[in-house]
């Protein structure tokens, strides 16, 4: 009885997925649909691109099913595909001048102490003064306007809780770079958030 109710592992699902089992398609897509959709929505912030990349990610997963190592967790692999496709889509859109240059440009990374100093210089966040919906809109706007490399790592780390090692694999960069880039992303967010709320206070 227990065996019947047992949830299939990613590896088991992927075996069925690779074999063309439609129920496995449903299971895998359902298992990762929300996290992947959220990631793409935050990273791309364009509904048409989000839906395209969402579908292409799962199609790519199926096409590369034979190269998948069942001993590796499926989730980082799925996000690796999604991140790469999302970045390609952004670059393509940039070439077509559909996306502001600032959103895909990369930023210089800061030292950890500089990051912490940025946080400690002014910690007066008018969080309580804002409605939750209004906050989320501002946050989304700040994230949207962050450089691509900072936006990407902040989403992966804070919202998806990937470990440093997994982020290093997803982004194909060293762990040290992951850490320093994440510090920079947090400092950038804090700076932009302070700028946003500061301007609101003066209104």
């Amino acid at each position: 009885m227990n065996r019947i109710l047992k949830k299939p592992t990613d590896a088991e699902l992927l075996d069925r997925y690779a074999a063309g089992d439609e129920s496995a398609f449903h299971e895998i897509v359902s298992r990762y649909k929300n996290s992947l959709y959220t990631f793409l929505k935050q990273f791309l912030n364009r509904q048409d691109m989000v839906e395209d990349i969402f579908q292409e990610t799962f199609l790519q997963l199926f096409n590369s099913r034979e190269s998948f190592d069942p001993n590796r967790p499926l989730r980082p692999w799925l996000f690796t595909i999604a991140a790469n496709k999302a970045k390609d889509a952004l670059r393509k859109a940039h070439r077509m001048s559909a996306i502001p240059i600032g959103t895909i440009s990369e930023s210089q990374e800061m030292s950890f102490d500089d990051v912490l100093n940025t946080l400690t210089s002014d910690n007066t966040m008018p969080y309580e003064e804002l409605e939750r919906g209004e906050i989320s809109t501002h946050v989304a706007e700040i994230i949207k306007n962050m450089p691509e490399n900072l936006r990407e790592i902040l989403i992966l780390a804070y919202f998806n809780k990937f470990s440093y090692k997994q982020m290093a694999q997803i982004l194909s960069i060293p762990i040290g770079t992951v850490k320093s880039r994440l510090h920079t992303a947090v400092a950038r967010f804090a700076k932009d958030w302070k700028a946003t709320t500061g301007s609101r206070k003066t209104e």
Partner: protein, 345 residues
Amino acid sequence: MRSLSNQQKQLLFDYCIGLASPEETAEVELLISSNKEAAELYAKLKSTFLPLESLEPESCPDDLVERTVGRLSNLANSSQQRLEQLIAAEKTRKVAFKSWFWGKRMAIAAVFLIVGAVFVSAYSSVITSYARQKSWQQQCQMQLQQIWHALNNYSSDYDGKLPTLASAAGEPWWKVGYQGKENHSNTRPIWLLVKLGYDKPADFVCPATPKAKTLQFDTLQVQSYNDFPSREYMTYSFKISCSNSASGKLVCRKVLMADLSPLFEELPRDFSESFRLRLNKDLLTLNSKNHRRRGQNVMFGDGRVEFIKTRFTNLLEDDIFTLRDTDIYHGCELPSCESDFFLAP
């Protein structure tokens, strides 16, 4: 109180952003509770990340999930179709093999054609060479027949006698081209045919010899010559009559001329030298060099000219190039009888 190390700051950062392990979490919580600086940093980090909590996970639209699963099914089906196509292609591989097989056969055929062409070319070359040799044999026969007619005309003009020149017994007959007063060449009687206008000099050069086409004859000097200018101008051997020859008449049983004797191909250029030749096995079997040793044209007394592949005529089984019972030649020997045909030099 000691200030926080970078590792402790990193632990605080990881704790606030949610990347700390359970062990690290316990360590950080202890640190926050026991260290004022850590507590302050925690507060600042916490307030930094607080706005991010306002972003809640979004639910993926059901229609997007359905569309994705639909596309996956289509891809799987098309993949299955592709697999079936591959299987079908594999099944039709015999056709490809057949094509390859035919290709291989064509290649082999091409090789055979090339080899065949080479062989045909070589064979053609052989055929051409053979035809050329045949042509020279026939032309040689025609020249010998022309010489016979000249002899016949001469014989008619000189009471049925063949051209002869007086020579004493034991005198040499090998000095072809000797222009002295002595008749020391067996070609001198034949030279009379040229000198007296019964035949042209070119008829005495076998067309199969290498220099046949290049030899030039100064006809104005014919009268001043007592013999052919050199051996190149006379490539046939003529009958040496026996000392007691009964008749010089042209009769069918006589062998008068033939292509150059293999015994006397090399003669001393210096006529003052003596000549000596010992027969050996090769010299007893060789045919004339005029026609690549394949045989020789032999002219008979009745005007017949036959290409004979051996040195023996069918008349008396006599070797036309040797004397009977003679192994050593000094260039002055004569047949002992009329039936011992001996063509020289």
